[in-house]
């Protein structure tokens, strides 16, 4: 069941505070957060969050496509080392 619209998106308050402080400072830094449940808001676009996965903080560069999703979706909790073979990485 989806969340009631009148409540607005859920974000832990400390995430908002940290994001605001980082944006105001204008420094290029990783904002370490533990809140995987927080929704990604439009004001987070362009910031880099370090989202905790239970072991370490995974860097997540927020883009417009991510708005409305949760931080936890971009911080996998399991690591799989497959073979490299012909797999490609794209530098965006």
């Amino acid at each position: 069941m989806s969340r009631s619209v009148w409540k607005g998106p859920f974000v832990d308050a400390y995430v908002l505070k940290k994001a605001e402080a980082s944006r105001d400072s204008g420094r290029n830094e990783v904002i370490k957060i533990w809140s995987r449940r927080s929704t990604i808001l439009p004001q987070f676009v362009g910031l880099t969050f370090g989202v905790y996965n239970g072991q370490k903080h995974i860097p997540v560069n927020v883009t417009e496509d991510m708005i409305g999703q949760k931080f936890g979706e971009y911080s996998p909790t399991r690591t799989y080392y497959g073979h490299a073979a012909d797999k490609k990485a794209k530098r965006k």
């Binding site: 420094r27 830094e29 860097p59 971009y74 073979a85 012909d86 990485a89 794209k90």
Partner: protein, 168 residues
Amino acid sequence: MSEKVCVGAIAGAFGVRGEVRLKSFTAVPEDIANYAPLETEDGARSFTVKITRQIKNGLAARLSGIATKEDADALRGTQLFVPRDRLPSLPDDEFYHADLIGLTVTDTGGAPLGKVLAVHNNGADDLLELSAPGQKQTVLLPFTKAIVPTVDLAQGRIVADPPEGLFS
């Protein structure tokens, strides 16, 4: 840059007519046949591959020179390689994981940051996993133009400009 890339492995015989159970490590599993002939690690044997069907946990395939179940069983555990130059060339800003793994990473001042252990994708960006000197845990570096401005495959070097707090 490694000269050979492992693209698959033989898991044993499939059926009794000389087909093999093939594990493909390529991004699209069926693409393994396009890189044929595939070689063993020492280069002593090479095989052409004809994929016959998809099976649980892999592909069933016919390899050249393998006619019986006994031949197929004898190859169990054999890894299959292709020369790196047989992989198609890529556009700018696209790199094979095999090329990136093992490169040394330095910051813009030339100080070493570590070595690339693996390449992951978290659903948003590709991430380089680095073994940083003096750190217990590995560090993940977003593979973006802003953070990784230079990838020099010829010299085996990556220049990175990591954001504050990434290595702490």
